[in-house]
Structure formats: C-alpha cells, structure tokens
Symmetry: C2
Subunit: 168 residues, 2 copies
C-alpha cells in the first residue's frame, strides 16, 4: 500500500496523543501516591523562559487538531486553554483525539499540494500541505510531547521510553 | 506530487540533523563565552536515570542512519559512540548527514511494505517499513533532539524554537 497524507498524519497524531494521555494519567497517579500537590507538576518548567507543563500539553493538542483540520481544508476549532489540573489536561487530550478521529482518509489524502496558511508572528505564511506536515506540524507536536515527558521525568515521575512511544 | 517514503524520511531526518548540529554549535559557543567547561553540558541530564546529552545526540544519529539504511535494505553502519566533546558530537551529526544524503529516492521509495527487523531487548522484531518509520524511527528521532534541546535550555543555553524547527 502506498503511503498517503492521511496515514502520515491522523494515525500518527493519534498515537502521540494516546501516549500523552497515558503519561498524564501516570503523573496524576504519582502526585496522588506521593501526596504532592498536582499543581507542582502542572506549573513545572525546565527553564524560566520555557512554557510550563500545562502549556506544553495545550500546544501539542493545537499542533494535532490544527494540522488535520488544515490538511482537510476544515476550520480549526479553538479550545480555551484554561486547563489547570490533570483531569482537565487529560480531557483536553481526549477531546483532541475525538476531533482527529472525526476525519476520514478521503478528507486528508491528496493534500500534499493544498495551500495551508498560518498566522506566524502576526503575518500570514503559506505552506504546501506536505511541507507543513513534515517541517512544522509533526516536529512541533513531538517537541511538546517530549518536553511534557522531560518535565515530568525531571520532577521524579517514573516514566520510560515505552510510555512515549506506545505499544510497538 | 504524491507523498513518498523517501520524502517522509531522508529530507525529514536531514532537517532535524541540521538543527541538531546548529544547536550543538550554539551550546559550544555559549560554554566558551561563559568560560564553562563544555563537559558540564555534555554530561548533563534531566534525571539521574535519563541519558546525558552526549548519548541523546548519539541515539538521534542512530535513529536517522538506521532508518534510512533499513528502509533502503542497506547495512546500518555502526559508529563507536566515543564522542566526549562538542566538536566530536558535531562531527558525528555531520557524518550522519553525509550518510543520509547518500541515499536516493529510488532506494527508499516503495519501502512501505518492506520488512524491517530490529533487535529489541534481545529479541528480533519485524515491522513493515511504513510502521517502522512512523511509530518508531521518527518519534524516537524527535525525542532525542528535543531532549538535547531541553537539557541545554535547562542549563541556560540561549536557544529558541526556531533553532529546533529550522528555517521555515
């Protein structure tokens, strides 16, 4: 079977989002077991001028929903970015999973050359669909999932690479 | 133009490796400007049981060279993993770039269903080429580049998201 834009996007985002949800569930369980205020993890960051964990999760969600919607030529839903607890962040990820699952291969396949226009630093930038997926959306998605993982590992949550990669 | 296995792998790895090289160059310049022993960064890690920076770079290199070689049905070169300085790590990344550039689209295209067999925890595991690329090689590659970036940001190196994503 020949690779398609759908196969290179929706199921790839879904795998990552499922891992992100599982990682956040483990972090919530860790906080409860160790009697640590979950806000300590939610607000943790690796450098003073990096985003805290909650924002990392929100941007991973945005990367996934934005990419599948734009490739399909659909509107990108705006989520309010108000999550401050593990259950809220997990719900955000689950909502994103449901959204991504709503797209069929037929809506995304053939989007290699579809123009995708984004606001970047206040200006419109247009990318070909394929370049958008591989040079922006996927690297950005993995950046924010990995940094969520790294923040939690740095703060003592017991996670392993298999939590990030998912079942193989 | 229809998406192909080559387009989804070699140029994607090359972009990430170029960014990794640029990030390591900035880290080396930072260490020199601040008169900090570069080994402090090379040996830094985010948790006691996570890999230090040097190993993160080596695994990112391995993910890239292993993936393009396996998709092409070629032998995977073994690099000795002896790098202990920024110039050596940068040379490792540049050597990986040269290796990846040695593959043509014709060698990798059509590898969607090629069997790829890996040793994982001592046992052989076989994947379809497409599943190997999207569920293992690319997520693993981005994990180790992002964690390299996160280690350096955590240690005060001035980097931004554009250093990770590269020119858009």
């Amino acid at each position: 079977m020949t690779l398609s834009m759908y196969q290179a996007s929706a199921p790839v985002f879904l795998r990552g989002l499922e891992s992100l949800s599982a990682i956040l569930n483990k972090a919530a369980a860790h906080a409860e077991a160790k009697k640590i205020d979950p806000a300590v993890f939610i607000n943790a960051r690796l450098a003073p001028d990096m985003f805290a964990l909650a924002r990392q999760v929100q941007i991973a969600s945005d990367a996934a929903k934005g990419c599948v919607a734009r490739l399909a030529g659909a509107d990108v839903p705006s989520y309010p970015d108000t999550e401050t607890t593990f259950p809220e962040l997990i719900a955000r990820v689950e909502k994103t999973i449901t959204f991504v699952k709503g797209f069929s291969a037929g809506q995304i396949d053939g989007s290699e050359d579809r123009n995708v226009t984004l606001k970047m630093r206040g200006a419109d930038r247009t990318f070909r669909g394929q370049a958008y997926l591989f040079t922006l959306a996927l690297p950005n998605f993995y950046f924010h999932i990995t940094t969520t993982y790294d923040i939690l590992r740095h703060n003592g949550v017991e996670l392993g690479k298999s939590d990030y990669l998912g079942a193989l």
